[in-house]
């Protein structure tokens, strides 16, 4: 962090000086911008190359962001997930019926009327065939009615919630178009019986939008499960989770593990890490390539105008004024590319895609979202390219000896 600040400090100072120069030395700047226009083809091709790199940058950023949204925005700090020790993920966990009975009447659980705010759940993975004919794993979550209350981020869009013993399911609205039968009034085949889709829901981008929900007993019967997977429970306050955890872990009858719901979701986000790291590496390397290209264009621009620079110097412009204006020329060139690239990235906006979380072993769908924030990052990125790519050529321009420049052909 401190190292980053130290590195950034001269950078920011230089940028501040450039902004000041923008106001102070207007004449050579106008000249530089016009000369960009003079070399239309060369400027345009450099800007286009930078646009492509910035486009990739923004799309990769949005991919990383889409992945984090799909996992993170779930969970409450005052809720806890109970799992079998070492299971780490819901899918791996199992809690026998007798343990669940003890667990559900735990005195620390919050109550709604007489009922404890806890949901015994069964999580299974079922292979579904998608519209395009390929198969993918989908999480099927059997839960008690309280499970819906415990997830306030989830709300119904169409229809109603499932009722017990009737083989009814609700499905995420986002999955509706991708799987045949996954729509209000549709039917699904799971565990040897037909299930009626009685509702669709939304969860604000949370990972629940990749799950099919049904009654816990129905799911356990259909999938021949004798044990539950997990229990989700709410406590009176976030601080109570620790005490609840200690009491459950120490209870010899239970021997189970407690994780705060928000922490659990944090571990799930790790699924996106490899893609993020790879994406960052790609952009880093391509940035290097783009900076070289920008440098090349600027060097050519400077070399072709030795005489003009000499004239400017002879007219009385100082070296630092030349430095600033050539630096601005390169920044403008790259900014044009940056704006173009951010615009280009908009084509990826809204594209639905999916990947599989190897932790939960099931399909996670998310959309590329190109937000104004990401586009701004792309433009800022091009600014950095302009600074780095233009500095050496601009420096050179300002250092050309006056006499040589006047002679220069």
């Amino acid at each position: 962090m401190i190292l980053g600040l130290l590195l950034a400090a001269p950078f920011v100072a230089y940028l501040a000086w450039l902004v000041w120069a923008l106001v102070a030395y207007p004449i050579p700047l106008g000249y530089n911008l016009r000369s960009l226009w003079q070399r239309k083809l060369s400027s345009a091709s450099t800007a286009a190359a930078i646009a492509l790199v910035v486009g990739i940058f923004v799309v990769v950023l949005s991919l990383a962001q889409g992945l984090s949204v799909a996992f993170v925005s779930s969970g409450r700090p005052d809720q806890a997930l109970v799992l079998r020790p070492n299971a780490r993920y819901e899918l791996n966990s199992s809690i026998e019926r007798d343990r669940m009975r003890i667990l559900k009447v735990h005195p620390l659980l919050e109550r709604e009327g007489n009922a404890p705010m806890a949901s015994a759940e069964s999580v299974v993975v079922k292979l579904f065939t998608m519209v395009d004919g390929s198969d993918t794993n989908v999480t099927v979550r059997g839960m008690e009615r309280m499970g819906i209350t415990l997830r306030p981020q989830v709300h119904l869009v169409q229809g109603r919630w499932f009722r017990p013993s009737l083989s009814e399911v609700v499905v995420p609205r986002k999955m509706a178009g991708r799987f045949p039968g996954m729509e209000l009034g549709g039917r699904l085949r799971m565990g040897g019986r037909d299930w009626a889709v009685v509702g669709t829901f939304e969860a604000g981008g949370a990972s629940y939008e990749s799950e099919v929900w049904a009654d816990v007993n129905d799911v356990m019967q259909a999938f021949k499960r004798e044990a539950y997977s997990v229990m989700l429970g709410r406590l009176e306050a976030p601080e109570r989770v620790v005490g609840f955890g200690q009491s459950v872990e120490e209870d010899r009858r239970l021997q189970l593990e407690v994780i705060r719901e928000t922490d659990y979701f944090k571990t799930l986000t790790k699924a996106g890490d490899p893609i993020k790291i790879l994406g960052n590496l790609i952009t880093l390397i391509l940035t290097g390539a783009a900076i070289f290209a920008a440098m090349n264009t600027m060097y050519a621009a400077v070399a072709g105008r030795t005489k003009e620079i000499g004239t400017l110097r002879a007219l009385g412009f100082r070296q630092r004024e030349i430095l600033a204006s050539f630096q601005w020329e390169s920044i403008f060139l790259c900014l044009t590319g940056g704006l173009l690239g951010s615009g280009l990235a908009l084509f990826a906006n809204g594209v639905q895609t999916s990947t599989t979380s190897f932790q939960t072993f099931s399909d996670v769908s998310f959309a590329f979202t190109i937000t104004p924030g990401l586009m701004a990052q792309g433009v800022a990125f091009s600014l950095v390219m302009g600074l780095l790519g233009g500095f050496l050529p601009a420096w050179r321009a300002s250092r050309i000896p006056l006499t040589e420049a006047m002679k220069g052909g």
Partner: protein
């Protein structure tokens, strides 16, 4: 060939420009080569040449559902079948949960016949196999995995179960060598450990691996098995081992499309940048080119010289990029390769190298052609008058 010196001189005319463009190309080609190799590495998971007559039988509903072990005799009785092996993913870890490797419970009697290529069975003695089969807590380990953890034959490996609530302590009986390093990042132990340790696993297995005598029998066999168990309490899904693995690769999502998209964008960017550089280089030499032509060089010859120059330029960048990628691949294998099974075999294949090199040459040709062609079409008198 005798023009090479001339072309080389032209490239060195502006050393800085050549250096910058070669650097730019190098980084771009490096990116493309690594990305494409990543893709081939993923795809190679799904075309193991040794698995052509192996099939996986599992529950139709998905990987987490179990099949009864009583299916085994029926499978074994089929005339096409050479051997059947019950396999169950254990998903345990050794010391650190992040330390991923495949560990499975397997039928110890048939596993060597099933995976004889992967285990390099010809290098394993009969005595070793007997040793493993007699020890109920015995296990076999791939060499890559053993090296990473410093295991030797005779060591005890404590595994912590994640899917199953047992933490078996296993004795290493065999360390096997495999033709593909990715197959060596695995551990197999007796099925009984699971069956006896986990009550709910009694008489069940997640999958059965089946080896047929001849690959031609696959379609008939698949159809018969799945029909036999259709509408039973435990319906089956039978597919080839490669198809089974493909399912996992597909789970990563549209990685292929993303990689191809980035590759396309990079290639277009290279095209533009190279074109721009060559255009500048040629513009600088307008007079020179005119002099050449006045001296009697045909425009075809001048065009060829310029095109070769452009191609030489990109070839330098491309080769450096590929060299960098080859160096990086060794690094990836030794670091990331042990963490994720996908990257254990990560190499830049000759095919990828050729494709990248060919691609860059075509790009160089295309990028140089337009400015070079324009230069040779220009009237000589114009060129001679032009002030460089």
């Amino acid at each position: 060939m005798r023009w090479l010196a001339l072309i080389w001189k032209s490239l060195l005319r502006s050393k800085r420009r050549t250096l910058l463009i070669v650097g730019s190309l190098m980084l771009s080609v490096f990116t493309v080569a690594v990305l494409q190799s990543l893709l081939t590495s993923l795809n190679s998971m799904t075309n193991n040449p040794n698995s052509s007559n192996r099939l996986a039988v599992r529950h139709k509903s998905g990987l987490t559902q179990m099949l009864p072990r009583s299916y085994e005799p029926y499978l074994r009785q089929q005339p096409e079948v050479e051997t059947v092996c019950a396999l169950q993913w254990f998903g345990g870890y050794y010391q650190d949960p992040r330390n991923f490797f495949a560990n499975l419970a397997a039928d110890e009697t048939t596993i060597f016949q099933m995976f004889r290529e992967e285990f390099g069975v010809s290098d394993i003695t009969e005595a070793q196999i007997k040793d493993f089969q007699r020890d109920g807590a015995g296990c076999i380990v791939g060499e890559v995995l053993a090296k990473k953890n410093g295991w030797k034959v005779g060591d005890v490996v404590p595994l912590t179960g994640t899917i199953f609530p047992i933490n078996p302590r296993l004795n290493i009986r065999i360390i096997y060598k495999s033709p593909r390093p990715s197959d060596e990042n695995a551990l197999y132990f007796h099925f009984k450990v699971l069956e006896e340790g986990v009550p709910r696993m009694k008489g069940l297995s997640g999958s059965f691996w089946v080896r047929l005598h001849r690959p031609e029998d696959i379609p008939r066999f698949v159809e018969r098995v799945d029909r036999h168990y259709a509408n039973s309490a435990y319906e089956t899904l039978t597919e080839t081992e490669n198809a089974f693995n493909l399912g996992f690769v597909k789970m990563l999502g549209n990685i292929g499309a993303i990689i191809q998209g980035i590759t396309l964008a990079v290639v277009v960017a290279i095209l533009i940048v190279t074109g721009n550089t060559m255009a500048t280089a040629i513009r600088e030499r307008t007079t020179e080119i005119a002099v050449f032509r006045a001296m009697g060089f045909s425009s075809g010859r001048v065009l060829t010289l310029l095109l070769v120059e452009g191609m030489l330029l990109v070839a330098m960048g491309g080769m450096l990029g590929l060299l960098l990628a080859l160096v990086a691949a060794t690094g990836v294998r030794s670091t990331l390769g042990s963490l994720t099974p996908f990257l254990a075999d990560f190499t830049i294949l000759p095919d990828t190298i050729l494709a990248c090199l060919g691609g860059t040459l075509v790009v160089g040709l295309l990028a140089t052609f337009i400015p070079a062609y324009a230069a040779t079409r220009r009237p000589i008198t114009d060129g001679l008058k032009a002030i460089g």
